[in-house]
């Protein structure tokens, strides 16, 4: 970026880039604006972009129509719960793969990755029947366990790529100084591993929140997280755009903000470290 850029060119680029950026962002912006309109205003033609009577009634009604807070809670429990359990299982595995690799470690990691390639429809039938027989359909327990399994390979992989960057020499030095395994982990490794673990957690919460195959197939009124709940607005009688917009705005806002903070990790996590 050391190159000098003529001011005129910079301004033209600025206009172009903002135009394109706003066009891509437009459906989200429009949803947020519509959420503050009355139902009548929401389908007014021509639409009023900013100059309409702003109202908050949709947000109140979304909660009245259905127990909206329950679905928010479900989303939080499923995405956070599955991520935390998976981290407990994955951290030791990734640690071992990064710091005590054997000849088979690489193949093992590749195999873990390959489980992620299995299309969910390939196991939809048995999972549905097992959930039915075990009474797990439409329960938070069932869905949290399932999401934990779905994201476990990504979590092991992300952690592995982060841990691998921690220099092994530091461990050697700590061992020379007589540190035991436990001390090694607490005093040497943990402080260096925390940022990687945090990034992994962030990305997987986002993935869990937005998952929509298993949630749509395995939940109904009780355990439905937001991804499945919003689908109830697809029925013709449920088509109230302003309320759909209010429900949508609340459903995407927290994860959008988390997502903005996790740009870098996103590239790394979703390409399994192939692009950094």
């Amino acid at each position: 970026m050391a190159r000098a850029v003529p001011a005129r060119r910079r301004w033209l680029l600025t206009i172009l880039a903002w135009g394109v950026g706003l066009a891509i962002f437009f459906p989200i912006l429009w949803t947020v604006l519509t959420s503050f309109k009355t139902e009548g205003e929401a389908i007014a033609v021509p639409s009023h972009v900013v100059f309409f009577d702003w109202t908050l009634e949709n947000y109140a009604e979304v909660q009245q129509r259905s127990n909206y807070l329950r679905h928010v809670t479900n989303s939080v429990v499923i995405s956070l719960g599955s991520t935390l359990i998976a981290l407990l299982i994955a951290v030791p595995a990734a640690w071992a793969a990064a710091f005590a690799p054997t000849r088979r470690t690489k193949n093992l990691l590749m195999w873990m990755l390959s489980t992620k390639m299995m299309p969910p429809v390939g196991v939809l039938v048995p999972i549905y029947l097992l959930f039915r027989d075990w009474g797990l359909l439409d329960t938070l327990t069932g869905l949290t366990i399932l999401m934990m399994l779905v994201n476990l390979p990504i979590i092991v992989w992300m952690l592995y790529t982060y841990f691998k960057e921690i220099p092994g020499d530091i461990l050697e030095a700590a061992r020379m100084d007589g540190a035991r395994l436990f001390g090694e982990i607490v005093h040497v490794l943990a402080p260096m591993a925390v940022p990687g673990i945090a990034s992994t957690m962030l990305l997987n919460i986002i993935l869990g929140w937005n998952e929509a195959f298993w949630t749509l197939n395995l939940t109904a009124a009780n355990a439905a997280p937001l991804s499945a709940f919003i689908a109830s607005y697809s029925s013709p009688e449920g088509l109230f755009w302003a309320k759909l917009s209010a429900a949508s705005t609340m459903a995407i806002a927290p994860i959008l903000i988390l997502g903005w903070f996790s740009q870098r990790q996103l590239v790394r996590g979703l390409t399994f470290g192939a692009v950094k």
């Binding site: 029947l129 919003i230 755009w241 759909l244 692009v275």
Partner: protein, 290 residues
């Protein structure tokens, strides 16, 4: 350098992850395979019997299968085309110097974080509705007849929605790759009098090849099983016009209760995905050594 002691500890630390994934992989997949070879319909009680390849035969010869396979390929191909070409153009744009780079970047990556069901419903109604939708209003203001997206071009509509969700992913990865291109190399080419277009084709594009491959492979894995967007917009219809393989399996299992037929379809979906996965795993594996 690892001692015997740390090796056995390492094995112990890997064990839970490996065991869980083995069970998660093997048990349901084995069950799917088993169901695909028996007669099993939830509406037909009684003992099941061996069916040979008849479930596969019926699934593969069902006219809906050919349509669904075609639709799957159109969705995957269409979204890949839009996201890769669009992603390269966007990455080039975002790499330029302009005011508010950080904010524009956030705007561009935002669609990736929108719930698939929200994206589908917002697009179907507020963007693509033939009367009240934003596109219809734009068309009318330009004096054109508005398009009734989901009635006239349902598959194209779904492809556009899914492409909007994946465009940020492609852009972000290609931009990351672009920023690792050394400035000296580009400047050297400029000094030698290379034109912008030849710099793009001979320096930038080859540099992006690897990232493009990663984008194509990873997106393909996910795009082969697009589901939520279809369920909330068209329910696979009209007829089977927007049914892809994933949706066909779902309909067979949970709408027609034909467990065996759905299982056969599931196995076919697994085989399709594996064809792609083999390439992807090999590529990431190569990167492990680098």
């Amino acid at each position: 350098m690892a001692t015997l002691h740390t090796n056995s500890t390492a094995r112990l630390m890997l064990a839970p992850s490996v065991a869980l994934l083995v069970v998660w992989m093997a048990v349901p997949l084995a069950m799917t395979l088993y169901f695909s070879f028996i007669h099993y319909n939830l509406l037909v009680p009684g003992p099941t019997s061996f069916a040979g390849f008849s479930n596969y035969y019926f699934f593969l010869t069902d006219p809906a299968f050919a349509t669904a396979l075609g639709n799957t390929l159109i969705i995957v191909g269409g979204v890949l085309l839009i996201t890769v070409v669009g992603g390269i153009l966007l990455a080039l744009l975002l790499d330029q110097p302009f005011f508010g780079q950080g904010i524009v970047r956030l705007l561009v990556i935002s669609p990736f974080f929108v719930l698939p069901t929200v994206a589908a419903l917002v697009w179907k109604n507020m963007m693509m509705n033939p009367v009240y939708g934003v596109f219809a209003q734009i068309a009318r203001s330009l004096g054109l007849a508005p398009l009734d997206w989901f009635a006239q071009v349902p598959l194209v509509s779904i492809t556009i929605i899914v492409a909007w969700q994946w465009l940020p992913f492609a852009t972000l990865i290609l931009l990351t790759a672009l920023q690792s291109l050394s400035e000296e190399q580009r400047e050297a080419a400029e000094m030698d009098g290379a034109r912008k277009l030849s710099i793009f084709f001979y320096i930038i594009l080859p540099h992006l090849a690897r990232a493009m491959t990663v984008v194509i492979l990873i997106e393909t894995i996910f795009l082969l099983t697009v589901f939520a967007e279809i369920l909330v917009t068209t329910n696979g219809g009209p007829g089977v016009a927007t049914t892809n393989i994933a949706f066909l399996v779902y309909a067979q299992a949970l709408l027609q209760f034909d467990v065996a037929g759905a299982a056969a379809g599931g196995i076919i979906a697994v085989i399709l995905a594996n064809l792609v996965a083999v390439f992807l795993v090999r590529m990431i594996g190569r990167n492990l050594e680098a």
